[in-house]
Symmetry: C2
């Protein structure tokens, strides 16, 4: 039984929710897919029937082994296409998500593996998210934390974002914050919990608590 684009989007949503919460609730899925709980109930039954998920009424959904494999393949495709769009077509990192959301449904393993090879087997997508390999293994990075958890005096490098919305990414552009860039946390303002980051160039940037909690970093040295 062939899976539809809509069904693939459900699998990806369930993958993301279940890996954070253990189980994907009806309401959470509806919210991610901008749909309604009633529509979700309907689709969950089909996906169960097809063997992609485990689901019991009122209990929420989790992926089966097959569903997990498929979801990881979709994540892989999505992130590889994002790399392609940014690296090869020079798109801005805030513009690629909607296109990748469509491209991820095209072709099968052959296409994604060729794309992967063409791109040189990248490890991370333009937002710092890890790209699963062709076996579905996803490198989990150690010691990644939100910038808001840092202490004054620490050195760190930006390695990802929690919020990939265009609005947030453009805000980071304006602040000059980008993946791989290194800073030292020189000050923390008690009044509003904002932080002062000093780049290697010496330039400083004031970063709000709201922003810092959505920027992922790794400590360095």
């Amino acid at each position: 039984m062939e899976i539809s684009v809509s069904q693939e989007n459900y699998l990806k949503a369930i993958y993301k929710l279940a890996s954070r919460e253990g189980v994907a609730s009806n309401q959470a899925i509806a919210s991610v897919l901008e749909s309604t709980p009633a529509s979700v109930t309907n689709m969950l039954r089909k996906l169960t029937e097809m063997g992609w998920i485990d689901y019991e009424a009122y209990r929420g959904a989790t992926l089966t082994a097959a569903g997990n494999k498929r979801a990881l393949e979709l994540v892989r495709k999505h992130r590889l296409w994002e790399v392609f769009l940014v690296e090869k077509l020079q798109y801005d990192w805030d513009a690629v998500h909607p296109l990748a959301e469509e491209l991820e449904h095209i072709g099968g393993e052959e296409l994604v593996n060729r794309l992967d090879a063409f791109l040189g087997h990248p490890q991370y997508d333009p937002h710092g998210d890890p790209i699963p390999d062709s076996e579905g293994n996803i490198r989990k990075r150690q010691h990644v934390m939100a910038a808001s958890e840092l202490n004054v005096g620490q050195d760190f490098a930006v390695c990802g974002v929690r919020d990939s919305s265009s609005l947030f990414l453009q805000h980071l552009d304006r602040l000059g914050i980008e993946l791989g860039k290194r800073y030292a946390l020189t000050e923390r303002l008690e009044f509003d919990r904002s932080m002062v980051w000093q780049a290697e160039s010496g330039q400083t940037t004031t970063v709000s608590q709201e922003v810092a909690s959505n920027v992922l970093i790794q400590r360095v040295k």
Copy 2:
């Protein structure tokens, strides 16, 4: 009113049929789209309503100016993706059509123009078909004919195919026939109208009438 994937496929089918026959009949569209005449009638009414085509009951369909522009954009996207798949992802020329058939529906002018630039503004797709530019202008090649129309003694270069089916393209692979390759027609066998082509290497290939009439060539020297 947003156009659907299905509707875009109709526009492309009408474009191809109308440019060959002047008008696209109901039955011909159904045959191209592997659908039924009843379904076509239904869709033609919608496309008329939306301003993409001109259509009167029993009379067949033609594209409006808007429809023509849209169809050419689709052809452009289709062929550019084919170039990408062959040049960058090393697909065989007989494998790319189904993927391009899906990719052509993704994104808008921005994506296709970036892809075009990335590929270096190619003029022809892997099957020798011309790629419309961003204005929708399509370079019509002069002096292109079927190989079957050649006379003995003439030199020529292969520049396209009439049949893009995987079966035919693989057959050409087996015969060693590829785009750009030059031959001289050394002999024509009256019995079954087959031809003997001599490559620049000196190697000869016997080509049936059926094959020759589906290979497009240009005379050289």
